[in-house]
């Protein structure tokens, strides 16, 4: 919370103007009952018509003045809170841009989106309310009490006692409600989980005919939520009638005590009326305080989430002073690399990996599911940092190369192709927005994407929906490959990026890459043996370790693992074909 309030402090000049103007409005509110008392006690008592009219007119004019104060405070508090909100949002966004993949894995993307959209707005609203209400309500509270003391010390004491009693009651209720609402939030999450799972996994639900099962599952969480919600709400809902009751009883006490004092002559009628009026105004401000409490708890949770993001340090730190000129050629070397996603656990995903490839060579990585192929590839552009050992590019440790230069020279196409909304052209040009259309067509052709793009009515200008919903898996992958080729990288990483493309097309893509990107070092992670046959070197990974290393001819002769894979895919008939 503290960290978040800092954002408001930046605009303290504007922010303070709001409360100051608000004071003006509150003071006028407080003056009204006092003037009323004078009308009763002086004007009416003495039958002084002139006094009544003058005082009444002053009251009317003051009400307008109060509006100006209130309006002005609104301008400043809105301005300050919106600006602070925009700053928070921008800082969050920039922070996320500095995150490493590990940060992103830890704070899930979905959460990040909620924090940036929803939580920031919550905090922003809280600021606005804080600047307006936080001043108004306590001011009214203090003012009413002071004015009451001014009118009659006895009533002042009564009022303070009442307020103290009320606060105790409210705090008691809120304390009781808090754990209940934590439970509600848990149940809300449960309902959301079941719901989202069903929306996303509907094909599975339907194909297993599990509709009834899912409905039952949902009924349970739905009912749990209802019970928790009802229980929690029923506590909080008591606050309002309680405030009203206590203060109304206060009015009755004032009337009772006041009536006797008027009888004894120690108090005037006007004074009694004024005190009653103050209590009424107090009622309003106390209710407002109730709203603020709720806002604080809600904004508090949001503020905490925002703070967590802002405070989490990026796992990958840049070595700053490196101004050296890096002219990357594309030699890659792994030296005894160990890697684990979680430093606490000793579960190594990669173990003692060492290999070296020269610029322009092609390395293929084969291996069983979960053997660490994708992980290996992601270490090269420093999406993650190695746990032990080192990775060298052109002899430099990747940690020494500025990330910008590193990623400019390395291009990666993922198995799950990421598509942005926009045209196909925008998507391909992503890494190089200034590229000409001719160049876009060229790389699209290399990626064998042109064939289907040109069949679309608007060609390259076809708008893609979010996540490329209007493309097939293979089409998305080909666009992603075109995007990777667009930047003419020195190192090209293909992370099983043709898994949804048919064999024939895949071999065409490979051919294009071999011919036109002969200077580029290529690392291919693949499932099909056909994808790796032409590689200069093939590495077979098993359980995070290299179990075979060499080119196809060598491996087919010497490596039983490789032979195993080969046979599993091509079978005995292959030999007939090859010969």
């Amino acid at each position: 919370m503290k960290k978040i309030i800092k954002y408001l402090q930046k605009y303290w000049k504007i922010a303070m103007l709001g409360p100051i103007l608000m004071c003006c409005e509150v003071l006028i509110d407080l003056f009204q009952p006092l003037l009323m008392e004078r009308i009763i006690d002086i004007g009416i008592k003495n039958n002084d018509l002139n006094f009544v009219v003058t005082t009444g007119t002053i009251m009317v004019l003051l009400s307008f003045l109060g509006f100006i104060g209130g309006f002005g405070s609104g301008i400043f508090s809105s301005t300050a809170s919106q600006r602070a909100g925009a700053d928070i949002r921008r800082d969050l966004f920039e922070k996320v841009q500095s995150f490493s993949y590990k940060n992103l894995d830890e704070i899930e993307i979905g959460n990040l989106i909620t924090i940036l959209t929803n939580d920031v707005i919550q905090v922003q609203q809280f600021f606005a309310i804080l600047l307006r209400m936080m001043v108004r309500a306590p001011l009214m509270l203090v003012g009413s009490v002071t004015m009451t003391f001014y009118v009659s010390a006895k009533f002042g004491v009564i009022l303070v006692g009442l307020i103290g009693f009320l606060f105790l009651l409210m705090f008691g209720l809120i304390r009781k409600a808090k754990p209940l609402f934590t439970k509600v939030q848990e149940r809300v999450d449960q309902v959301n989980t079941v719901m989202l799972e069903n929306l996303r996994g509907m094909r599975v639900v339907k194909s297993f005919v599990r509709e009834d099962y899912e409905i039952k599952r949902f009924d349970k969480v739905n009912n749990d939520l209802k019970i928790a919600m009802t229980k929690a709400s029923k506590v909080l809902v008591l606050i309002l009638p309680l405030i009203m009751l206590v203060l109304n009883l206060g009015i009755v006490i004032v009337l009772w005590v006041g009536g006797r004092e008027v009888y004894e002559g120690s108090l005037s009628v006007g004074q009694v009326v004024a005190v009653i009026n103050y209590i009424l105004r107090l009622l309003g401000s106390l209710m407002m305080l109730g709203v603020i409490f709720v806002q604080i708890t809600r904004a508090g949770a949001s503020a905490k989430r925002i703070g967590d993001v802002l405070e989490s340090a990026p796992y990958i730190n840049e070595i700053k002073e490196n101004e050296k000129e890096f002219n990357i050629k594309g030699a890659i070397e792994f030296r005894n690399v160990d890697f684990s996603y979680n430093h606490q656990s000793n579960e190594l995903v990669l173990q003692n990996i060492s290999f070296k490839i020269n610029p322009g060579e092609t390395l293929a990585i084969l291996g069983a599911t979960g053997s660490g192929k994708s992980t290996l590839i992601q270490l090269i552009p420093r999406f993650y940092d190695v746990t032990r050992g080192e990775i060298l590019i052109d002899g430099y440790n990747v940690r020494e190369i500025p990330q910008k230069i590193l990623r400019k020279n390395i291009s990666i196409a993922l198995q799950k192709a990421i598509i942005f909304s926009g045209t196909i052209e925008d998507n391909i040009k992503y890494g190089r927005p200034t590229a000409s259309e001719g160049k876009v067509r060229e790389v699209a052709g290399d990626a064998q994407a042109l064939e289907f793009i040109d069949r679309m009515p608007r060609g390259l200008k076809t708008m893609l929906e979010e996540r490329g919903a209007n493309l097939s898996g293979g089409q998305k992958q080909r666009i992603s490959i075109a995007r990777a080729l667009m930047v003419t990288p020195k190192i090209l990483l293909l992370d099983d990026s043709t898994s949804a493309v048919d064999v024939q097309t895949e071999s065409l893509i490979q051919k294009a890459i071999n011919e036109k990107f002969s200077d580029t070092t290529v690392i291919i992670v693949a499932q099909r043996i056909s994808s790796v046959l032409a590689a200069d070197r093939i590495i077979v990974l098993d359980d995070g370790e290299i179990v075979a290393d060499g080119n196809h001819e060598e491996l087919i002769r010497s490596s039983p693992v490789y032979q195993d894979i080969y046979k599993s895919q091509l079978g005995e008939e292959v030999s007939v074909n090859v010969n």
């Binding site: 920039e94 992103l104 008591l238 009203m244 009888y263 979960g370 992503y430 293979g474 048919d502 056909s530």
Partner: protein, 605 residues
């Protein structure tokens, strides 16, 4: 203050609420309100109780100031203490009664509200289970989720909280006006005359606020969509070093939003001070004119004091009604969004008395099947095929040729446009949908796992299966080995969508799930595409066992997996261009043989 602000945790919502700002307008208000009423009807009696409680509490509230005026005029002002205690006691009774009624009412209110939400949400969820796949394919799940949470929540809050408030406000207003006219006709006229002024001001400001608010929402939408998209593709942003570009893009949108928001919020912020001004204005007016009346002997001091109180209670309901009007408008718009889903056409049975059967032999035939997801573009053209019981049919062809679509039709995720699909000689449309799907075992290209343990996920295939049966299925799918290596083995809890497993491992679980289902007809749509070939070879053995005696449809890019199929169908551009066994097709030297040799082409050349 409205009670719904007291801490009901809102479901995540991105929409910002400003006071007195019109939300989205409902299209058919009357119809929507009537439908909403249907949900409340079952709780009619409870509602009736609530409304009478509200009325009671309001009346008691009204009595307060009247009694106070009486106390001042009849006792305090003329310094009479005799009987003063009675009137004070009466006031206490009034206030305690009002508070109690309010408390009871609020309690009941919560029951009604939460029950209604539960009913609507449950109904929505049930409906979603009945909708065709097309619905999910064409809609973002974010939109659907927000309808299920935000909108339903919004409806219930408004329905109950706002409705009672509306009633209490209206009653209060009416009561105050009546009381004022009874007490003093002229003063009442003065007070009431401020109503048009209030309404005019509200309307005037509302008009401008709406304009700016709309602009604000538009820009906020842009900001949010940039956030969602950038975060969604964050890894790609980093991979291509586009951080600075997206920051710049975002900052511009953020700045534009800020400017619009400041304007909108300032205007919206006028409402509070303005209502305060109106209050003070009425207060001052009554003091001025009331004082004049007292001196002219047209009213008593007590009446003026009572008026001062009523005036405060007078402006509030007007203000509240204006607020509520907007809240209700918003809820009705939300209700429409909810009803829109409830009104979606469900998957229907095409026959009055669909066929029920426990077992299929597995004879599958397609006769002249045509199909397109959209009317204009046909994906499948004139598909004919016949699979005898127990045969394996392989579908081969380039991406986008229509292989998955054939599966979508067989499972009736989509219904065909023209032609016929028969199982055991009967059109699939004549079977009960659940019967059909129960007999089909499908392993999809995109595996989907649910949160829960590995055990639960496999058991999804047959809920009654014992632990031993689950493990047996996992062994058959070759998933047992890696499951054993997980931290809690079969009791390992998978995070949402099984993110802590690799793509291939997830697929193995999905295969085990299908093995457990023990279907009559098996459909493997790229089931092993993310599994490496060695693992695949192991699964193959399991799958082969599974395919034994069952009609199976297999889609695969890897031709090695389908060489043993009884019939291979080569599909291109929505048509079957070649058919036959592996060796027949190789001899034809057509598309298939080209495709097949492509796997070794690099090597051969």
């Amino acid at each position: 203050m409205s009670t719904n602000k007291t801490g009901m945790p809102k479901f995540r919502q991105g929409r910002m609420r400003g006071p007195l700002i019109k939300g989205p307008r409902a299209k058919d208000q009357k119809g929507t309100i009537l439908r909403l009423w249907e949900y409340m009807r079952s709780q009619k009696k409870l509602l009736l109780v609530i409304f009478s409680l509200v009325s009671g509490a309001t009346l008691l509230n009204l009595a307060g100031p009247y009694l106070m005026g009486l106390a001042i005029d009849k006792y305090i002002y003329i310094k009479k203490l005799d009987g003063f205690g009675h009137i004070v006691l009466l006031m206490i009774v009034t206030y305690v009664g009002s508070a109690m009624l309010t408390a009871v009412m609020s309690n009941l209110n919560i029951d009604v509200a939460q029950n209604t939400v539960k009913i609507i949400r449950g109904e929505l969820f049930g409906k979603i289970q009945m909708l065709p796949i097309k619905f999910f394919d064409t809609r973002g799940d974010g939109d659907l989720a927000s309808r299920l949470t935000n909108d339903v929540d919004n409806i219930s809050n408004t329905l109950t909280q706002s409705l009672t408030q509306l009633i209490s406000s209206a009653l209060m207003l009416l009561g105050v006006v009546v009381m004022m006219f009874i007490l003093n006709f002229q003063l009442a006229l003065v007070t009431v005359s401020t109503v048009p002024l209030t309404l005019l001001l509200t309307k005037f400001i509302g008009k401008y606020t709406r304009k700016f608010y709309k602009e604000q929402q538009k820009r906020l939408g842009l900001v949010n969509s940039i956030i969602e998209e950038t975060m969604g593709g964050q890894k790609a942003v980093k991979a291509y070093g586009q951080e600075e570009k997206v920051i710049k893009h975002f900052s511009e949108a953020n700045e534009a939003y800020k400017q619009a928001a400041v304007k909108a919020q300032i205007l919206a912020g006028i409402m509070g001070p303005m209502m305060n001004m109106v209050n003070n204005f009425i207060y001052a007016l009554i003091a001025l004119i009331g004082g004049y009346f007292v001196i002219k002997d047209l009213a008593s001091t007590g009446i003026v004091v009572a008026f001062l109180h009523y005036s405060r209670q007078f402006a509030r309901p007007i203000n509240q009604i204006a607020h509520l009007y907007n809240a209700i408008q918003g809820a009705i718009a939300g209700a429409e969004r909810v009803f829109e889903i409830l009104d979606e056409a469900p998957e229907v049975e095409n026959m009055d008395e669909p066929i029920f059967t426990k077992h299929f032999n597995g004879e599958v035939a397609f006769h002249n099947v045509h199909f397109g997801y959209e009317r204009e573009t046909k994906i499948l053209k004139d598909i004919n095929l016949r699979a005898r019981s127990g045969q394996t049919i392989a579908l081969v062809g380039p991406t986008g040729a229509g292989k998955t679509t054939i599966i979508n039709l067989l499972t009736r995720f989509y219904d065909i446009d023209e032609g016929k699909i028969l199982i055991d000689g009967e059109s699939i449309q004549s079977y009960r949908r659940d019967v059909l799907r129960k007999s089909l075992g499908i392993v999809l290209q995109d595996t989907y796992l649910f949160s829960g343990t590995v055990m639960e996920n496999i058991r999804y295939g047959r809920l009654t299966a014992s632990d031993e049966e689950v493990i047996k299925a996992a062994k058959m799918a070759n998933a047992h080995q890696f499951i054993k290596r997980l931290s809690s083995e079969y009791n390992t809890v998978l995070s949402q969508e099984g993110n802590n497993l690799s793509q291939g491992q997830r697929q193995l679980i999905a295969i085990a799930r299908t093995i457990l289902k023990d279907p009559d007809i098996l459909i493997l749509d790229e089931a092993t595409s993310s599994v490496d070939t060695r693992t695949e070879m192991h699964i193959q053995q399991g799958l082969l066992k599974l395919m034994e005696g069952r009609t199976s449809f297999v889609i695969a890019h890897r031709l090695s997996t389908i060489r043993n199929a009884d019939i291979i169908l080569v599909i291109k551009d929505g048509r079957i261009i070649e058919r036959g066994t592996h060796s027949e097709l190789l001899q034809q030297r057509g598309f298939y043989s080209a495709l097949y040799t492509a796997q070794f082409k690099t090597k051969v050349s």
